[in-house]
Symmetry: C2
Subunit: 364 residues, 2 copies
């Protein structure tokens, strides 16, 4: 087991990464110490792992709520159903809320933990690659509104994260690949060597070879933890973690949440951001092409869906959380391993990116 | 103008107290610096003060949402209506949410500020005595569920509080007196001299004499600020601010929110807590009688409503936020000016308090 620490003063916490953590009773009891536990999961994940988790929680009042599976259910209604459940089961301030599932379960259980009796202990047990490398770390919680993604939420750090890499072997292929998009993101925004390593090991990663996978999760968590530690509430540099997300959120929102997986939308978003940065002459064309190639190597979509017009995309940007005083801010790469936050993107070049059928296909 | 500071490291903020602050344009513009402002108020308060506030906010996009008036509307539905409004009016992360109103407006606007895009700037302009001395200070925000009061919420400190004492002159008599209950609370929990001063000046206070009133608000805010500064998230001693509230919340909840004003319920709750403490021989009978006398002097109810049975009250305690691991915790006075937190109240004595028709009427 590897432990990565997220350093946030009195809100610091460990991310434990390794094989078989769900069967490590001592560890589970250490991170869930109280007498009340509310496990929030979904119907799919619950069937797979709930029995093992509960078996490792003796002498506790354990209540379980299974949410319906999918981003379309990441709503205020589902979240307030968690509160109703906590009220009916009489969970008090000393309870621990455990998110057992992917990003949707984690975001909603976390927001419920942030707001139940003004905040209770929260533990993340992420069961998807996306959740292990991204959403379970850093304290962002929230739900979607019809007008935009994650518009309602809170920063609420978990007390601990348990990332059991064994569970990733049962992920559906499409979901697993979507998670690799966020792994790739850490290479692009922070670490050229990791980006190269990922490309070199893309076959092992696609085959879910345990060693390659554990390394990918570890480096991703280390990168995210270091960014979050320096800017917990995203008042500045933390925004670089949104690389690919301004485009990605627009794609998700316009397609109706759930049609594109988040990681797929971010993958394409990173390609669109690379295309835009290259058009702005910020990013060498070779790097833009390498980004497109890497996204494609992980079996993720790299072509703009025809039905998403430039006009609709720009309208969708208008409600993105990253808008400050009316200007759209993009995270753009200057080279692989380094990004900047730009709020002065020329409208004509943005139009070119939003209209082209050949993203990142530049000649030198 | 007097300024009381709430010391909470990077979350510190000033409470400005004085006459005519709503007409102090420079002060208002200083605490609301951004280009977007969302004012949340209610239909009654809006009519009285909205024009003056808006006149002092030039060169800003100002949007106003008027909520229906009353505790019965302190619900998740009303709160999510604030989010819908912020979304429609396209308020971004740089916006300031201003609560112009009493405790209900402040709690809901504050919880909306805590959760809109994971937290935006929040300013409190409390227009009731209760809000000026209690709910606007300390960062508690939230809404009620059918099963209990304030069960969903967050700690979210305002950036500033403007307590204009002039506005208190237009408060309905019943609401004004209810606010005095919380003022009295600070004397009981922390400051015997203030308690005595309040009793000596109860006529001036009932007449709303400006000097007496400003002093009462100031001392209340100083006391609350010092308690909050030492225990922001109520992990320990902050619970003393709930003196009278375990009984009070049960009274409010059983009567249906809105039938009893919060301050009225707290006033009676303080008398019940005094009765219980005297029965437990923790508190001298003379002090219990003095507490009952002071609550009565401010024209507040001091008799148990017959319809609230001991059984119903105890059931209501079960869902109070102050319950930790199944035991009900009471804040009880040991003398006027000093309280303790007790979780070992003898059930038989609690029954006596809940059944007596003669609260605090002990012979020595």
């Amino acid at each position: 087991m590897i432990t990565v620490n997220v350093n946030l003063a009195e809100r610091s916490y460990p991310i434990h990464i390794g094989e078989g953590l769900l069967d490590d009773g001592a560890l589970i009891q250490q991170v869930i110490p109280g007498s009340q536990v509310a496990i929030i999961t979904n119907t799919i994940v619950g069937r797979l792992y709930l029995d093992r988790l509960i078996a490792n929680l003796p002498a506790r009042k354990v209540d379980v709520l299974e949410l319906p599976d999918g981003e379309v259910f990441k709503t205020l209604d589902t979240w307030s159903g968690i509160h109703q459940f906590l009220g009916e089961k009489r969970h008090n301030r000393g309870t621990t809320i455990v998110a057992l599932g992917g990003g949707v379960v984690g975001d909603m259980a976390g927001f419920a933990a942030a707001t139940w009796q003004r905040g209770v202990r929260f533990v993340q047990i992420p069961t998807t690659l996306l959740a292990q490398v991204d959403s379970s770390v850093g304290g962002k919680t929230g739900v979607n509104l019809p007008v935009g993604k994650n518009l309602v939420g809170a920063f609420w750090q978990p007390a601990a994260v348990l990332a059991d890499t064994t569970v990733l072997s049962s992920l559906p292929e499409r979901e697993y690949r979507a998670g690799l998009a966020e792994v790739l993101k850490y290479g692009i925004i922070h670490d050229r060597a990791f980006f190269d390593w990922l490309l070199q090991h893309h076959e092992a990663l696609l085959l879910r070879a345990p060693e390659a996978l554990t390394n990918a999760v570890r480096v991703s968590c280390v990168t995210k933890a270091s960014v979050v530690a320096r800017d917990e509430r995203e008042e500045g540099r933390r925004a670089i973690l949104n690389y690919g997300h301004t485009f990605g959120h627009a794609i998700e929102s316009l397609s109706g949440y759930g049609h594109w997986l988040h990681g797929e939308a971010v993958g394409l978003g990173m390609v669109m951001a690379a295309d835009l940065a290259a058009r702005m002459k910020m990013l060498p064309s070779a790097d833009a092409r390498a980004i497109r190639k890497a996204v494609a190597a992980f079996g993720l979509p790299v072509a703009r869906p025809q039905e998403l017009t430039a006009k609709a995309m720009k309208l969708a940007f208008g409600m993105d959380k990253k808008v400050l005083d009316g200007r759209v801010r993009f995270v753009l790469a200057t080279r692989i391993g380094c990004v900047d936050i730009c709020d002065d993107v020329p409208s004509s070049l943005l139009d070119e990116t939003l209209n082209t059928d050949f993203l990142c296909e530049f000649d030198d």
